[in-house]
């Protein structure tokens, strides 16, 4: 399944490393990354694929959120379908 992952947190060294490590641990393949700094907050959007992951998507979402909370990041993963539905005819 194609997914969109949003990451928001106070800027510091190693955010991309932390998130990509989490994703690698969960066998989620990153397809694209864009990031920007909004004030002191680091904001990142990742496109990824979960086909290789053994975890069902609802568990994956919770696992990623919990990992994010431990390092001060707000990480949300959603199926890409909702964005396609809303913004593409």
């Amino acid at each position: 399944m194609n997914v969109i992952i949003s990451v928001i947190g106070k800027d510091r060294v190693g955010i991309i490393r932390d998130v990509s490590t989490f994703l690698a641990d969960l066998d989620v393949n990153i397809v694209d990354i864009s990031q920007t700094l909004m004030g002191e907050y680091f904001t990142m959007i990742m496109r990824a694929n979960t086909e290789k992951s053994s975890m069902p998507i609802d568990k994956l979402i919770v696992a990623l959120r919990e990992k994010g909370e431990k390092v001060g990041l707000d990480i949300n993963l959603r199926s890409e379908e909702i964005f396609n539905a809303m913004h593409r005819i």
Binding site: I4, S6, S34, T36, I45, I57, D58, I61, V62, N76, R78, S79, E80, E81, I82, F83, N84, A85, M86, H87, R88
Partner: protein
């Protein structure tokens, strides 16, 4: 490729503008549960509902997690119990079985304690109507609806008269909880068979065995979008259309996914803008954002007509099957903008009635004094039914004559049902008119004026 801007827009709708799917409602046919024994019918009803809807809550939660959009309520609607129980007469036993099945499956509401008597009622249906107050008082999650009029049949004034009395009785039997029984009882004109919203949901006789209908929400999203609009009312209408399209697409996605996961037919998406008592989730606030000082001011009906029409135009292309009630809801107790306007006297019952001529659904979740006579409630139902029948649209009355309370006080129901200031209702008597009974003939559809 979806842009970052679009991604942030969707995320903002959910996180700060209360975008949610109001309900996934599973319609279940109970025709194969009919027996001549009340006990056997109730047992079959319980078994079928708990079997068909056993995964409804978990699937709803899973979809909510997957798409990151809350699914607020999971509900079941069933074949009108007046039909299912006619052979056995065990209507209340069936209501109790429905309530137990609702508790077992963990759903929020179950609708279908329903009779369709728009042209006439059989003796069995009259028996059924008399059981409604008791059924509502002895269950927690069961919702009831009665269709008393249609554009083809006219208005069954005998049923209207009886329903005024039943509303009063339901209020009395649930007097310890601000007459909450009446919050679960709706009297319709032109009722629809695939409505996912409560209290009026029932599974029509022309429906398949197991159907998923979805009701979207999103008043907060529409209001936020309008905050950015500085243009004229054409620009306002265009913005509402675009926003409604996006909101409905979410409903369509959720409905299709839920139907697939639950092995059910995809029925319809209901386009209604359904408010909640939460701050920022109000239809009243949308009308105020358009430029009215308060809901209820002159201009409210026009603003609501614009909103209702634009929501439909935007939503209709976003879904392969649109149905249900599909319009803007104006339940007083469930909308913070309406609660405030009614409390301060900006919104009167008469203005609400005018508003129902241009939107769905009707006089909804309005608290009135507990000593309001039954014939006044019947007459209010007749007025609403006349608006629906004449305009070929669904209208309804869900009023709560709050036992022991009067104007200046408030009734509180909790949860999605909210709280309502007791509103003033005309004290002049329609007793002779209501006592006449009979039928108001169906209206002419030509020579319109």
């Amino acid at each position: 490729m979806i842009s970052d801007k679009e991604i942030f827009e969707t995320m903002g709708m959910v996180s700060s503008q209360h975008l949610d799917v109001r309900c996934i409602t599973m319609g279940i046919s109970l025709f194969d549960c009919i027996t001549g024994s009340a006990k056997d019918t109730a047992a079959k009803v319980y078994d079928k509902i708990t079997s068909y809807a056993k995964d409804l809550v978990s699937v709803g939660d899973k979809i909510a997690t997957m798409y990151g959009v809350p699914v607020v309520n999971k509900r079941v609607s069933v074949t009108p119990v007046s039909l299912v129980g006619a052979a056995s007469g065990g209507y209340v036993e069936i209501a109790k079985a429905m309530d137990r099945a609702a508790a077992e499956t963990g759903i929020d509401f179950i609708g279908g304690y329903t009779a369709l008597v728009q042209k006439g009622a059989t003796q069995k249906e009259n028996d059924f109507l008399l059981t409604i107050p008791e059924a509502l008082a002895c269950t927690k999650k069961v919702c009831s609806s009665v269709n008393v009029a249609s554009s083809r049949a006219g208005i069954n004034m005998d049923a209207v008269k009886l329903m005024g009395e039943m509303v009063k009785k339901a209020a009395y039997l649930t007097r310890e909880e601000d007459s909450i029984g009446c919050a679960k009882l709706v009297v319709f004109a032109n009722a629809v068979e695939d409505n996912p919203f409560m209290a009026g949901a029932f599974h029509g006789t022309g429906e398949a065995d197991k159907v998923i209908n979805v009701g979207v929400s999103g008043p907060g999203v529409v209001k936020s979008a309008l905050e950015q609009v500085d243009g004229d009312l054409t620009a306002v209408a265009e913005t509402v259309k675009k926003t409604a399209f996006k909101v409905t697409r979410v409903g369509q996605l959720v409905a299709k996914t839920a139907a697939k996961m639950l092995d059910a037919e995809f029925g319809i998406v209901d386009l209604s803008l359904a408010p909640t008592p939460a701050i920022g989730d109000s239809v009243g606030r949308i009308l105020e954002e358009m430029g009215l000082e308060r809901v209820g001011a002159c201009g409210t009906t026009a603003a609501l007509a614009l909103l209702n029409d634009a929501v439909k135009k935007g939503g209709i292309m976003a879904s392969s099957h649109v149905g249900g009630l599909s319009g803007a809801f104006i339940p007083v107790s469930e909308d913070i903008g309406m609660i405030e306007a009614a409390t301060m006297g900006a919104l009167s019952l008469e203005k609400l009635e005018a508003m129902t001529a241009v939107c769905s659904v009707g006089i909804d979740m309005v608290a009135i004094p507990g000593d309001t006579p039954a014939e006044v409630i019947s007459a209010l139902i007749a007025d609403e039914a006349a608006i629906g029948v004449t305009n070929h649209k669904t209208t309804a009355v869900r009023v709560i004559p709050v036992y022991g309370k009067t104007v200046g006080e408030e009734a509180s129901f909790g949860g999605l049902l909210g709280r309502a200031p007791i509103m003033k209702i005309s004290g002049y008597s329609p007793l002779k008119f209501i006592s006449r009974g009979g039928r108001i003939p169906a209206p002419l559809s030509s020579n319109k004026n």
